[in-house]
């Protein structure tokens, strides 16, 4: 019996997916970028040569040098160090917004898909209304109410992100709730909560993981946009979007102030997109590219 269990584990679909994912070069490049970013974010204090917040007017607007590899901004803060610390902000934006969206999206999506009927009607209506807003505009409208600040960005982006997840979970749950194994657990007397969280959700993890990975990328881009407009992170937070917005006044004299934070955003989002696309190919070949 034990031996059989062991063999079953070896042939688990996740292990199989990982094996196929490893063969996808682009996805592995993406994973490498993400890994590097996480390391940079965790060890930022050891990597960054300067304090990202320390104002040093004597060194204002310096060109790249040995001391300041990418030069300094108007307040004499090292751009390189700020970009390093900015990785923390971006990763937090991605992870926190997607976690909140995940909780709301899974709960509402599963409820709608499992119970159907009027529960589904109401939740589907909510999903459709939320999705009818142009994404960024909706986030801006929420920021207008909440006021600027990075914590409000988490909330605003979570509010605009959950409907996409909920719709996917709803569809998945709907398609598997009639399967025999669900009926089997039901007849064993399992209650609805147990069925939903123990048996239904784990079986729709593949599209959820793909959506969340791409959602992290989208959240990072949106945060950069909101901060660029002055509605997101506030100074002196080393947010990449905010750095871009600050660099705008120096577009003629010091374009590096804008080029590097933008590159940081692009590389990060590129890594997440590559990995997300690869995951989709492996886990869920039927998902449409949109």
């Amino acid at each position: 019996m034990d031996k059989q269990n062991q063999e079953l584990e070896i042939y688990s679909p996740w292990r199989d997916a990982w094996r196929r994912l490893k063969k996808n070069k682009m996805a592995m490049v993406g994973l490498g970028v993400i890994g590097l970013l996480v390391i940079i974010a965790i060890f930022a204090p050891y990597i960054a040569p300067h304090d990202p917040l320390k104002v040093d007017l004597m060194n204002s607007l310096q060109p790249p040098s040995d001391e300041f590899p990418l030069g300094t901004d108007r307040l004499g803060r090292g751009i390189f160090s700020r970009i390093i610390y900015g990785a923390r902000i971006s990763l937090r934006v991605g992870l926190i917004t997607q976690s909140i969206a995940l909780v709301i999206g899974i709960t509402l999506g599963a409820l709608a898909g499992y119970y159907g009927g009027w529960v589904d009607e109401i939740i589907s209506y909510l999903i459709n209304v939320f999705l009818a807003f142009p994404f960024l505009l909706f986030a801006i409208a929420i920021m207008a109410t909440l006021g600027p600040g990075i914590n409000n960005v988490f909330l605003a982006l979570a509010i605009v992100s959950w409907p996409g997840l909920a719709r996917i979970v709803r569809g998945q749950v709907m398609s598997i709730r009639e399967e025999e194994y669900v009926e089997a657990v039901k007849s064993l007397g399992a209650n609805d909560v147990r069925i939903i969280f123990k048996h239904l959700i784990p079986n729709c993890m593949a599209p959820i993981i793909v959506t969340v990975t791409l959602g992290v990328a989208s959240a990072i881009l949106s945060e950069a946009g909101l901060s660029f407009l002055g509605l997101g992170a506030q100074p002196p937070t080393p947010s990449w979007g905010l750095m871009l917005s600050g660099g705008r006044s120096f577009i003629r004299s010091n374009p590096g102030m804008m080029i590097y934070p933008g590159l940081a955003i692009m590389i990060t989002v590129l890594g997440l997109n590559l990995f997300g696309d690869g995951l989709r190919d492996v886990l869920d070949p039927n998902m449409k590219d949109n």
Binding site: Y125, L126, N128, V129, F130, A132, F133, P134, F135, L136, L137, F138, I140, A141, I142, M143, A144, T145, L146, G147, A217, L221, A224, G225, F228, L229, G230, L231, G241, L244, R248, I251, R252, P255, M258, I259, G262, I265, M266, V269, L270, N273, L274, K288, D289, N290
Partner: protein
């Protein structure tokens, strides 16, 4: 087809009401502080504030305010801006031509670039051209729109000095080129990827082989037989991307100082001018719904197998 369109339009009504409800909640219920005080500043005296509250109907219970708002909106009245005291609908209509011009040219640019790149990739898969357009497409979806805009400004306006840095000018095309490319970049990338995969799928179908074996030229096979069938999923992508495009106008217009609705919305948010925020958001959301409906109806033109009954 007409009944289908009418039914779809009717289904959009509850969605619109939902959108109105959410913006109402955002603008008048969850706002910390008193909108009138925000509008008048901290120095205004109590009597004036009371008077204005009454004038705006803000002294009534929330449900009364809500139904009044629905009534007003049904008549097309978006209210007055707190700041300029002008009709919100006038302010939006004034800005509409600039935004429409930008959005339409961005979409055209995106379709031209995206479909061309996609076709080239699909008819020469794994060639250097395929590689270049797909890497370009990958970068296109990973770049912040406004950053691309700023980079284009650095290159074409500052270094080469052949295009203006921003603004609207007197509507000359030079002013439109960079904003349109910026706004359309993400869509171009998405369209290119979709065209490629959709074309590759179609090109192995039997009817393409039939067309070729009839002796038709490769050009006719690709354009008339393959592309037309491959366009259906591409149209879907265009439809889903329109929301991003409308949202993207906010960033692109801010980057290029383009006098459109997106910038109006950002200025409204900065000034906490709630009727104007509500008006611009509702307007763009309504446009989004209508355009999606048109995209939906557009499928029938491309694929006669789709029937609307």
């Amino acid at each position: 087809m007409l009944t289908y369109a009418a039914r779809k339009l009717l289904m959009a009504v509850p969605i619109l009401i939902g959108i109105i409800t959410i913006t109402f909640l955002l603008n008048f219920v969850f706002v910390p502080g008193d909108p009138v005080r925000i509008m008048m500043g901290q120095t205004a005296n109590e009597d004036t504030i009371k008077m204005i509250r009454k004038e705006l109907g803000l002294d009534k219970p929330l449900y009364v305010q809500y139904f009044r708002l629905l009534g007003r909106l049904a008549k097309g009245d978006l209210g007055r801006s707190y700041k300029s005291r002008r009709e919100v609908s006038d302010m939006i209509l004034e800005r509409l031509p600039a935004t429409a011009k930008l959005a339409v040219s961005a979409m055209i640019a995106a379709i031209l670039i995206g479909v061309t790149a996609g076709i080239i990739s699909a008819i020469m898969p794994y060639s250097i051209w395929d590689y270049i357009s797909m890497v370009g497409a990958l970068l296109g979806v990973s770049m912040p729109v406004f950053w691309l805009g700023l980079m284009l400004i650095v290159v074409f306006a500052i270094k080469l000095n052949i295009l203006p840095v921003g603004g609207y000018g007197n509507g000359q095309i030079e002013y439109l080129i960079l904003p349109a490319i910026t706004l359309g970049s993400r869509q171009a990338a998405k369209i290119a990827r979709m065209t490629r995969s959709s074309m590759l799928e179609v090109i192995n179908k039997d009817y393409i082989r039939t067309a070729r074996s009839k002796g038709l030229s490769e050009k006719i096979v690709v354009i008339k037989h393959a592309l037309r069938n491959a366009m259906i999923p591409v149209i879907t992508v265009i439809g889903t991307q329109l929301g991003y495009l409308l949202g993207g106008t906010v960033l692109t217009e801010t980057t290029f100082s383009w006098p459109g609705i997106g910038r109006l919305a950002v200025d409204a948010v900065r000034a906490r001018d709630f009727p104007l925020i509500q008006g611009t958001v509702l307007f763009l959301a309504a446009v989004f719904i209508i355009v999606n409906l048109l995209v939906d109806l557009g499928y029938g033109l491309l694929d006669p197998r789709i029937r609307y009954d």
